[in-house]
C-alpha cells in the first residue's frame, strides 16, 4: 500500500527527525503510511494534529526529576526514561533476587519486536529505541512491584520512541507499574510494550497515563499468554491531547484468565482512545474487558473492543463492557464493541452504555438524605471506583483511587449532568 498523499509529507518529516534507524525499517514506515480517517481502525481518531507537528528528535534532559510523580511511596526497583532516554541517575534498581532482571532494554538481550501493524509500530521498530526490560525467570515469585517512569520534558514536535519488554517465566509472579507524565504541550510519545506471560504466570500491569493535556501519545501493548496464565492489565488514561492505546491480547494456551480493565477521564480538548483486540486461540479461557469513561466538557473518547474467538477455542468465556458517563452535552464517545466467533459452545457477551447518571440510583441516595449534587458525585466516583478497585496491588490502588477522586472533583459537569 502506498502512503496516502496527505500523510507522505508527515512521514518524511518524521523519518528525517529520527535519530537513527535502519533503511528497511524506514522504508516500512513509508510503505504503511500514517492512518487516515478512511482506515476503519482510526475512523474516530483523527491524527491530523500529530501529522502536522514539526517533528524533532527528543534529547537528553539531565535536569528532569520525578517530583510529583505517582508511586513515590512504593518500595521496589524503578526504571526512569526521560524523553525516551534511560536515566541512570533517576533509576534505582537495587538488589534483585536471582532470576529477576530489571534494566534498560539497550543493555539487555531482547528478542525482536512483533511485526508492525501500522506506521507507528513500524516507526518504533525503525527507531530501535530504548526502554524498560523486566524479566522474571521460571518459578520466581517477585512480589515487589517494578516501577517504570516515562517523563517528557520536550516541547512541541519533540518525538520520542520507547520500547518496553516484560517477561514473566512459567509459574512466576510479577507486577509492573507504569507512569507517564510530561511538562510541556505538543510532544509526541510513540511506545510499544510487549508483555509475555508464560504458562501459569501471574502478571499485573498498570499503565497510568497522565501526560500534559497538550501531549500526543500512541502506545501499544502486545500481550501473549501461555497456559493457565493470569494477566490483568489496567489502563488509567487521564492525559493527553490525543492518547491512543492499542491493546492486543493473545490467549495462546488453555485455562487463561485475562482481565483488561480501563478508565478514561478526558477533559476539555482531549481525546482518549482504547483500541483493543483480544484473540482467544485455545479452549477454556476467560477474558474480561471492563472499560469505563467519564467525559467532561467537549472531551472525546473512543472505545473499540474486538473479541476474536478462533476456531477450536471452545468453552471461551468472554465478557466485555464499555460504560460511558457524559457530563456535558458537547462530550462525544464513539464505542464499537465487536464479537467474532468461530468456535462452538462459547459464552460471549458485550455491551456498551452511553448516558447520563442512573436516575434510580440518584433517587435512592437522595431518599437517604444526600443532596442531588452529593448523590451525583458519589455515583460518578463509584463509576470510576469500579475500575480502580480491580487493581490488586494495594499501594497502587489506594494512591490511584485518591488521584482519580481528586481529578473527578475538578470536572466541571459533575453537578449538572
Amino acid at each position: 500500500m502506498v502512503a496516502p498523499a496527505q500523510n507522505r509529507d508527515a512521514v518524511d518529516r518524521l523519518l528525517a527527525a529520527l535519530p537513527k534507524g535502519d533503511a528497511a525499517g524506514r522504508a516500512r514506515v513509508a510503505e504503511l503510511g500514517f492512518p487516515t480517517p478512511r482506515d476503519e481502525d482510526w475512523r474516530f481518531t483523527p491524527i491530523k494534529p500529530i501529522t502536522e507537528l514539526n517533528f524533532c528528535a527528543a534529547s537528553v534532559d539531565a535536569d528532569a526529576t520525578l517530583e510529583g510523580c505517582v508511586f513515590a511511596d512504593v518500595e521496589g526497583p524503578q526504571l526512569v526514561f526521560v524523553n525516551g532516554y534511560y536515566s541512570e541517575s533517576l533509576s534505582q534498581i537495587g538488589e534483585l533476587p536471582a532470576g529477576v532482571e530489571v534494566r534498560n532494554l539497550a543493555t539487555a538481550d531482547c528478542p525482536a519486536p512483533p511485526a508492525a501493524e501500522d506506521a507507528f509500530a513500524a516507526l518504533n521498530a525503525a527507531a530501535a529505541p530504548d526502554g524498560p526490560f523486566v524479566s522474571v525467570a521460571d518459578n520466581v515469585n517477585f512480589t515487589v512491584p517494578v516501577r517504570v517512569y516515562y517523563l517528557s520534558t520536550g516541547n512541541a514536535g519533540t518525538t520520542a520512541n520507547v520500547r518496553g519488554y516484560i517477561s514473566a517465566g512459567a509459574n512466576s509472579k510479577l507486577t509492573v507499574l507504569e507512569s507517564w507524565a510530561g511538562t510541556q504541550a505538543g510532544y509526541f510519545n510513540n511506545a510499544l510494550t510487549e508483555l509475555h506471560a508464560a504458562d501459569n504466570a501471574q502478571v499485573e500491569h498498570v499503565k497510568f497515563q497522565d501526560e500534559h493535556t497538550g501531549a500526543f501519545h500512541v502506545g501499544a501493548l502486545h500481550t501473549t499468554m501461555g497456559r493457565d496464565a493470569r494477566v490483568a492489565h489496567h489502563s488509567l488514561a487521564l492525559g493527553g491531547r490525543i492518547a491512543r492505546n492499542n491493546l492486543r491480547a493473545h490467549l495462546n494456551g488453555t485455562g487463561i484468565e485475562a482481565v483488561l480493565n480501563g478508565l478514561y477521564l478526558p477533559r476539555a480538548g482531549q481525546l482518549i482512545d482504547h483500541h483493543m483486540v483480544v484473540n482467544h486461540a485455545q479452549p477454556y479461557c476467560d477474558s474480561h474487558e471492563y472499560f469505563n469513561g467519564i467525559l467532561d466538557d467537549d472531551a472525546r473518547a473512543v472505545f473499540h473492543g474486538r473479541i476474536h474467538v478462533h476456531k477450536g477455542a471452545d468453552k471461551t468465556d468472554a465478557k466485555q463492557t464499555n460504560k460511558n458517563l457524559l457530563l456535558s452535552d458537547s462530550a462525544t464517545i464513539d464505542t464499537k464493541p465487536q464479537l467474532e466467533i468461530y468456535a462452538d459452545d462459547v459464552k460471549c457477551t458485550h455491551g456498551a452504555t452511553i448516558g447520563q447518571m442512573n436516575a434510580e440510583q440518584i433517587f435512592y441516595l437522595r431518599a437517604r438524605g444526600l443532596d442531588e449534587e452529593a448523590a451525583r458525585r458519589m455515583i460518578m466516583h463509584a463509576f470510576a471506583g469500579e475500575i480502580v478497585e480491580r487493581i490488586q496491588n494495594e499501594a497502587a490502588r489506594e494512591e490511584l483511587d485518591r488521584l482519580v477522586w481528586d481529578r473527578l472533583e475538578q470536572m466541571k459537569g459533575v453537578g449538572t449532568a
Partner: protein, 250 residues
C-alpha cells in the same frame, strides 16, 4: 404527624391514586393492604418524593409542613424514611461510606457534629447486630450482590441508623422467609417509640403477626375503601379482597 388529604396522583396521564385520605399520629402503626395494582407502592413513592408522578390534587402535611414541597433529601432530614420494595444496587459505592455520608448529612442538618469513621463504625456495629447482618456486607458495594433477604435487612439497618420519626415500609416482607421476616420485624419493633410512627405496606397478612398495627387500611383502585382494627387483616387473609370491593359497590 402525617395528614394526607384527597391525594390524587398518576403517571403519564394514567391516574393511580384517586383521592387518598389518611391521618397518622405519633405512636401509631398503620398498615396498608390491597391487591396488586391498587396503588400501594405509588403512594410510598409519592410520599418519598420520587420524580415522574403528576400530583393533580390533594395535600400531604407532615409535622405541619407541606411534604410535597420538599425534595426527597429534605424529607429525610425532617425524619421521613422509605424502606424500598426494590433497593437499588449501586456498584462501586462502598456501603459503609454511603451510610456514613447519609448519617452525616442528617447530623449536619440537625446542627450536630459529623461522626468520624471510628464513632460511626461503633454505631453501625450496634445496629447491625439488631438485624443479624453479616459485617462483611458493609465492605461491599451498596446492595450489590446482596440476597433478597439481605437487601431488606439492609434497608432496616439504614432505618435504624437514620432513626426516622415517620417510616414507610414498602413491602419489606416480600420475598422473606419466616426467619428473616422475624428479624426484620424485630428490628422495626425495636425502633418503635411513642414519638414516631410507621406505615407498613404489605401484600401478606403474616407480617402483621409480627408488626402489630393499630389500624389496617384497604387500598383498592387508589382509594382507601375500608379501615379497621388489626383483626381486619386476618379477615382479608381468609376472605380475600373481593368482598370489600363488592361491599363498596353495593
Amino acid at each position: 404527624m402525617l395528614e394526607i388529604k384527597n391525594l390524587q396522583a398518576g403517571v403519564e396521564g394514567k391516574m393511580i391514586l384517586n383521592g387518598i385520605d389518611l391521618s397518622i399520629n405519633a405512636g401509631e402503626v398503620h398498615a396498608i393492604m390491597g391487591p396488586n395494582g391498587s396503588g400501594k407502592s405509588t403512594l410510598a413513592q409519592v410520599l418519598a418524593g420520587r420524580e415522574g408522578y403528576d400530583i393533580s390534587a390533594g395535600s400531604v402535611s407532615y409535622k405541619g409542613q407541606d411534604l410535597l414541597d420538599l425534595g426527597p433529601e429534605e424529607r429525610v432530614r425532617e425524619g421521613f424514611f422509605l424502606a424500598f420494595q426494590y433497593p437499588v444496587e449501586i456498584p462501586g459505592v462502598n456501603t459503609t461510606y454511603f451510610l456514613r455520608a447519609a448519617v452525616n448529612a442528617l447530623r449536619e442538618h440537625r446542627g450536630e457534629p459529623e461522626l468520624n469513621a471510628v464513632d460511626f463504625l461503633k454505631l453501625m456495629r450496634e445496629k447491625i447486630q439488631l438485624l443479624e447482618l453479616d459485617e462483611s456486607l458493609l465492605k461491599r458495594s451498596v446492595n450489590e450482590g446482596f440476597s433478597g433477604g439481605e437487601k431488606k435487612r439492609a434497608e432496616i439497618l439504614q432505618m435504624a441508623l437514620l432513626d426516622p420519626t415517620f417510616a414507610v415500609l414498602d413491602e419489606t416482607d416480600s420475598g422473606l422467609d419466616i426467619d428473616a421476616l422475624k428479624v426484620v420485624a424485630g428490628g422495626v419493633n425495636h425502633l418503635k417509640r411513642a414519638d414516631n410512627a410507621q406505615l407498613v405496606i404489605t401484600h401478606y397478612q403474616r407480617l402483621l403477626d409480627y408488626i402489630v398495627p393499630d389500624y389496617v387500611h384497604v387500598l383498592v383502585d387508589g382509594r382507601i375503601v375500608k379501615t379497621g382494627p388489626k383483626e381486619l387483616a386476618l379477615e382479608l387473609e381468609e376472605r380475600g379482597y373481593d368482598w370489600i370491593i363488592e361491599e363498596k359497590a353495593a
